[in-house]
């Protein structure tokens, strides 16, 4: 078990290094650099700038220097936001993005899983159909449409702000737009896996032994039916916490999703890699966590490893 996790962690670190390397060289392969403007800068200025940011070194040296800095936790200065380091920019963006993401995840877990369970327990009733119709709509309508419609609605109502994150109410729109799809998906997934589990022999045995219905459902059925849900929720948490680019664009939020799209456009190399690293670390960490959660829930997996 321990050996398994050490192996996993080592592999995650390797993946991270590969991701950083890939992004580093991919960005350099794009035509145009951070100091390419419509009106070209004077050659001397440009050289000075490139020297200041270390861009005059051979590309391999740049890579070595950059990797060394990352080990120290320094993501370097932002090329296009003079005076700001990437660490500073990230630390302003992450709280906004993460707070929306956190609320969306909360919504999904508090609402999505119970809805799925209820609709599985009441399968083929009007409650079940109602939940499933809602879930199907959630899956088929893209987040940018939900977001746009919400803004359209907000404009006609005074107490919902259209953009930004100034008031608690202004979180409603971004959270719904961000979490809508996953909320629908989780409730569908919970329902189907719950139905699957309820058909198993050990549930019949538990009932035959005279266990109370609540014990059958919560102790025996729910625990097992959550396995596929956890598989989905792991990467989902990473994706939601790092924010959807579209949602931040629609609701005018200065989170890291917006940083990312903008920095790619302006070739702000260090900022792009900074966001990528943050995202990748988070993602890989969540996948590890899912593995751990698996073995806690399912003894079969624990034993086989």
């Amino acid at each position: 078990m321990n050996k398994y996790f050490i192996k996993k962690v080592l592999f995650s670190i390797l993946t991270l290094i590969i991701v950083i390397t890939l992004v580093f060289f991919m960005l350099r392969a794009i035509p145009g650099g951070p100091f390419t403007r419509e009106k070209p800068l004077p050659a001397a200025t440009r050289e000075r700038l490139e020297e200041a940011y270390g861009l005059d070194e051979p590309i391999f040296m740049q890579y070595v220097i950059y990797m060394g800095n990352i080990l120290k936790g320094d993501l370097g200065p932002s090329f296009r936001n003079p005076g700001y380091s990437v660490n500073e920019l990230l630390s302003t963006g992450i709280p906004k993005t993460a707070s929306i993401g956190f609320l969306a995840i909360l919504l999904i877990i508090i609402l999505g899983i119970p809805l799925g369970v209820i609709s599985a327990l009441k399968s083929n009733t009007s409650i079940d159909y109602g939940v499933m119709i809602l879930a199907t709509i959630g899956i088929t309508v893209p987040s940018f449409v939900i977001g746009s419609l919400f803004i359209l609605l907000a404009q006609n109502v005074d107490w919902i702000p259209v953009g930004g994150l100034d008031k608690p109410v202004s979180f409603v729109g971004p959270v719904i737009a961000l979490g809508g799809y996953s909320l629908a998906f989780v409730s569908r997934l919970t329902r189907s896996s719950m139905l699957e589990v309820l058909r198993q022999d050990y549930i019949r045995t538990a009932r035959a032994n005279g266990l109370s219905e609540s014990k059958v459902i919560f102790k025996h059925a729910l625990k097992n039916s959550l396995i596929p849900v956890i598989t989905y929720i792991g990467p989902m948490v990473a994706a939601l916490m790092t924010g959807s680019f579209v949602v931040e664009k629609i609701f005018v939020i200065n989170g890291i999703g917006k940083f990312f799209t903008e920095s790619i456009g302006s070739r702000d190399y260090t900022l792009v890699i900074g966001v990528t690293i943050f995202y990748a670390i988070f993602y890989i960490f969540m996948v590890l966590l899912v593995d751990l959660a698996y073995s806690l829930i399912d003894p079969r997996i624990r034993l086989s490893k």
Binding site: T15, V141, P142, V145, S148, L195, V246, A280
Partner: protein, 417 residues
């Protein structure tokens, strides 16, 4: 027992416990199960409708997707008509163009507005309508002072129209737009033909991505699963690494790298035409084949232990033949299901990319880029966002229903509730 209560059977009344049933092939059986699933059939019919909409639609529709009717910009599908006279019905567009409308809702022509007819002090503009011989037929005066004049402010009007000294303040009727059924966009292009065209482009992207993905994924996965050992480990580590790069990040980076590159200009644009269609397909394929490869590998790993594979091996059948003849056909069910799920996913991702400005570029359009264009002016012209969005939603729904049904039909063990 009273024997008289029993009668002997006639010779043609055969009592046979073994009822003769037609034996069904795998695909007949699949079709039988699929047919019973109403939602799946609904999905299938909807998919056919979407396909017809995208292929036959543009032939029937008389407007082209890129033709601009500059007189008719931003005309909605539902018109608020002012009836000023018995045969004079007009519509004021959101851009303050005055348009002559027939009783049925056909657009006849646009009133012209000379600078000399604009009274900037009283804010009364006189729109004039000329026939082919340049003779003036109607002159309608629009009073825009309701917004600026404090005396008139409480009437809450944008304008009033005056014809023959009779002032009309409110629209008298609403009719459907008969000329452009779904209205026009910012540049006066027919929205119906743009949605048809966009659906086609979205479908091309989805199908191309799904098919190439199928090819790469099946090849990669079956080799990895069949050869096993070190090859399998190395190939699957590569898949793991690709899998742990956040998908969207990768897609965006790839789109930016490919944009305007030599590869795009000389290879992709040659095959798919300009506007970034090929780039999107390449991007989607390079991300999504991973899932397919994993699935096929898993299937092959299980199947290759079967006796018939052993039998084929002992008879000296070549490995490539075993993969082709035995392994892939038996793994076909889950492959088809993944493929069917892949199509709506690709449509969704494409729409998303177009929405953040990395997708198809004008004058070509996909559903995503149409929605993205519409979202910019959604306050004034909500129909331009709603129509493409509803089309996306309908498409997603149709393909999802069909894919769900296919999954249940192809492999009843996977049935989800």
């Amino acid at each position: 027992m009273n024997k008289k209560k029993f009668k002997p059977l006639k010779s043609d009344q055969k009592l046979d416990k073994e009822q003769i049933r037609k034996s069904l092939t795998y695909w007949q059986d699949v079709w039988r199960r699929l047919r019973k699933n109403h939602l799946a059939i609904l999905g299938l019919i909807s998919v056919v409708i979407i396909l017809l909409f995208a292929t036959v639609g543009p032939i029937i529709n008389k407007y082209e997707y890129n033709k601009q009717y500059l007189d008719y910009k931003n005309i909605p599908p539902r018109l608020e008509v002012y009836e000023l006279d018995d045969d004079l019905r007009v519509f004021m567009s959101g851009m303050y163009h005055l348009i002559l409308v027939s009783e049925k809702g056909e657009l006849i022509g646009r009133f012209s507005l000379d600078d000399a007819d604009k009274d900037l002090i009283t804010r009364e503009y006189t729109y004039r309508f000329y026939d082919e011989d340049e003779t003036e037929l109607y002159a309608v005066t629009a009073d825009f002072s309701y917004q600026t004049d404090p005396d008139k402010a409480d009437e809450d009007l944008l304008f009033s129209l005056t014809y023959n000294d009779v002032e009309t303040k409110h629209s008298t009727d609403t009719v459907w737009n008969r000329t452009f059924l779904l209205g026009t966009d910012l540049n006066g292009r027919d929205l119906l033909s743009r949605v048809m065209y966009g659906t086609g482009i979205s479908l091309i992207i989805a199908f191309a991505a799904a098919l190439i993905n199928l090819f790469i994924g099946v090849l990669y996965g079956s080799i990895s699963g069949f050869v096993g050992k070190t090859t399998d480990i190395v190939m699957m580590r590569i898949v793991d690494i690709i899998n742990s790069i956040p998908l969207l990040l990768y897609v965006i980076l790839l789109m930016v790298v490919l944009e305007d590159s030599w590869f795009e200009r000389n290879v992709l644009d040659e095959i798919f035409g300009e506007g970034g269609l090929g780039t999107i397909i390449v991007t989607l394929v390079s991300v999504y084949w991973v899932g397919m490869a994993r699935l096929v590998r898993g299937q092959v790993l299980g199947l290759k232990e079967q006796e018939y594979v052993l039998a084929a091996k002992t008879m000296g059948v070549k490995n490539s033949k075993i993969i082709q003849k035995h392994l892939i056909p038996n793994a076909l069910g889950p492959i088809i299901v993944t493929l069917a799920m892949m199509i709506p996913t690709a449509v969704f991702t494409e729409a998303f990319l177009s929405f953040i400005g990395l997708g198809i570029s004008a004058p070509r359009a996909s559903l995503g880029s149409l929605a993205s264009d519409g979202a910019k002016f959604m306050q004034t012209y909500p129909y331009q966002l709603l129509i493409p969005s509803l089309t996306i939603a309908f498409m997603m729904l149709a393909f999802n229903f069909l894919a769900d049904g296919l999954r249940d039909a192809l492999d009843p063990r996977l049935r989800k509730g």
